[in-house]
């Protein structure tokens, strides 16, 4: 059976982000995935914690699709983490209910691949910049997958953007059908 994938999407300016519009339309209609548009769901930041937790429980792989803002997530997704991944659910007594589920960040990044290096002005490779996500997943007993990133989204051509979206789509389909949840390897 295919793995159940939840995509928690967060973009406060989705209406004017070409990159994310292309990315979203590439995966939104995939069969068997749940697309959860957080800014559309909670424009007033009033997150329904119970509902979000139930969504997590009924999926195997949680994808966080968002632009990388200040080496982190848009504020609503941060709010989501603060409230939904609470003690007694994601960790702590009677917690760890997300244990062994997979966590993937799918990010759009303004800088180039080269800028995310010791020589670049972003100083650290992307995986290092995004360590807080990794540690959050690990803390909750979840398995952290290597981020899927599209770099330089403001400059690349429309064709390249579409290519990137297509490979994002393939990436998700791969997770859906070929990731062995027990071993973490592709079949």
């Amino acid at each position: 059976m295919a793995n159940r994938i939840l995509i928690n999407f967060a973009h406060p300016r989705f209406e004017s982000s070409v990159a994310n519009q292309v990315m979203v339309s590439a995966i939104k209609d995939l069969e068997g995935i749940t697309f959860n548009d957080l800014y559309e769901e909670y424009p007033d930041y009033l997150i329904d914690v119970k509902k979000e937790q139930e969504l997590l429980l009924s999926h195997d792989i949680i994808v966080f699709q968002h632009p990388l803002y200040w080496y982190s997530a848009p504020s609503l997704l941060k709010e989501w983490q603060d409230l939904v991944l609470e003690a007694g659910f994601a960790y702590g007594d009677k917690g760890y209910l997300l244990e062994n589920k997979y966590w993937l960040n799918a990010v759009t990044v303004g800088g180039t691949y080269e800028s995310y290096s010791e020589q670049g002005y972003n100083q650290f490779p992307l995986e290092v910049s995004m360590k807080p996500f990794e540690q959050t997943a690990t803390f909750c007993g979840m398995k952290y997958l290597k981020p899927f990133a599209v770099y330089d989204v403001f400059r690349i051509s429309k064709e390249k953007m579409i290519d990137a979206a297509e490979s994002y789509r393939k990436h998700i389909i791969g997770l859906q059908n070929h990731l062995d949840l027990v071993t973490g390897s592709y079949t």
């Binding site: 406060p12 300016r13 989705f14 209406e15 004017s16 982000s17 800014y39 559309e40 424009p43 007033d44 632009p67 990388l68 803002y69 609503l76 303004g110 800088g111 180039t112 800028s115 002005y121 972003n122 330089d152 403001f154 400059r155």
Partner: protein, 625 residues
Amino acid sequence: MDTESVLFKALIFLAAAVVGVPVAKRLGLGSVLGYLIAGVLIGPFALGWVGKDVGDIMHFAEFGVVMMLFLVGLELEPKKLWRMRMPILGLGGLQVLFTGLIISSVAYLCGVHWQGALTIGMVLALSSTAIVLQTLTEKGLMRTDAGKSSFAVLLFQDIAVIPMLALMPLLAVAPIIDIADEHSTNQLQGWQQTLAVIGSIGAIIVAGRFLIQPVFNLIARTGLREIFIATSLLLVIGITLGMQWVGLSPALGAFMAGVVLADSEYRHELEVGLDPFKSLLLGLFFITVGASINLDILIEDTQTILWLVLALILVKVVVLFALAKFFKMPLIENLIFTFALAQGGEFAFVLFSFASQNGVLADEMIATLTVVVALTMALTPLLMIFSEKVLQPLFDKQELEKDFDEIDDGETPVIVAGYGRFGQIVSRLLRSQGFQTTLLEYDAVQIDLVRKFGTKAFYGDVTNIDLLKAAGAKTAKILVLSVDNTDKAILVTELCRKHFPELKIYARAKGRREAYEIKKAGAHFVMRETLGSALLLGREALVDLGFRKFQAQRAAQTFLHYDSKHMDELTDLWGDEKQYILAATEKAELLEAVLKSDIQDRAEMQDHAWDSDLRKESQNTNHEH
């Protein structure tokens, strides 16, 4: 010139109205009194410009009353009417019963035979639908408690005319002289009468539903406005004649037809089309009432007539006041209600002439009583002015002294003054968060209603300092001032600032203008009642127009933020109209600019704000410099 021609008469009537009404209005007397006085002046007993046939004209003008009830019916859907059944039957029924009984007894004690006494009692128990509704509408009181109750009583009276007409022949003492009269030819047996009544009511309902609507559909499709109006007139006239034929009150029939058509899509067109006719005919009717006041009899027997006028008004006032009190109407509303209905009605003219034909009453007595009724009608606008300007301010103060529920809520941090639609939401929110609220409300009906849902609100006028004290204004932290009357809100604010300086006032305001005034009176926080809901609705509309929800939310929030800020900044300018309008226009333009630039900024931000390379470039440029 032919003074009997229709055009000449029209000239006289119209001139009287055009001169009389604006003058009366100017003097603050209202249009009804203007018409009545104009009528007296041109009538056969003063200048004599209109002849003795004024009775016929009045008969014709009574059609205005029929139209008025048709239009009233249009405003009243069956559901609303059903909700009014208690006041109609209770208040209306008891008013007719008690007033009728008292007047009958008095007449009997004065030596009238019992049949005549009963007739006089019944007829004089009625009030004037035309004068009361016109005056209340003009004063903008139709939507108040007093207005609604007055309407309920008038409606019952219109219904009561039917059995009265049926009863009259049975009370005859003299042999019926004019057997070939128009009324008598169609006189039906008792059971036939009942059948006719039920049949015609049914016919109106069925025809209204299934016949009139399609006909109007057809007519509307011709696109000829005058034909639509002609059809409307045809409808009302048809009902009038039909009702007369079966011996029912045409006004009642028209009212029912109106109710049946109240949810029809042509309601507004009917209203607009018929309204001018109604107004003109009513005016004509009032003029004829004035003209028919028989000044000869009045001069001949001044004392008797004045005593009778006084007695009739007094009996009505006492009964109406007591009933309203019994039905827990607040004192001020009670006064409006009582003095509005304290007169004889136009039905009296019809019923008296009917009584005369049936030989129930002697002609001289009828002549006297007709003058009495006309005089009480003419006095109504004056009585209402008297009540409004003299009595109400007097009792207003007295009412404040006492007359509120004992409050046993204990100390609560919040007092909610005005537990209507607005106060309920505030109170429920606060209570859901564990803050107890003491609820004050001025409308007894509302208190009963919320009590059914298990909420206890206390009766009393919040402008009464003693009530506020009893509610714990000294110890409470916040007064939620959610009354919808701005004058009251200002008064309460001033009172509280003076007597309870610690108490914070959170006030509801109708609009911007009212918000400034309440704020100036000293309220700590003022919120315009429509602002929040209008913004929420606007937000949803933006979403439907294709906005992301977060984007719409931000637009609404931005609007709220700047609008509130500008409102605060403009508070000091309020009062200086020129300055205010200037500044307000400027602020409105600013707000629009802010909202627009927010959208543009955000679009541009997408291109650059998170563009780290841009940052690098600017850094480099900095290095170069």
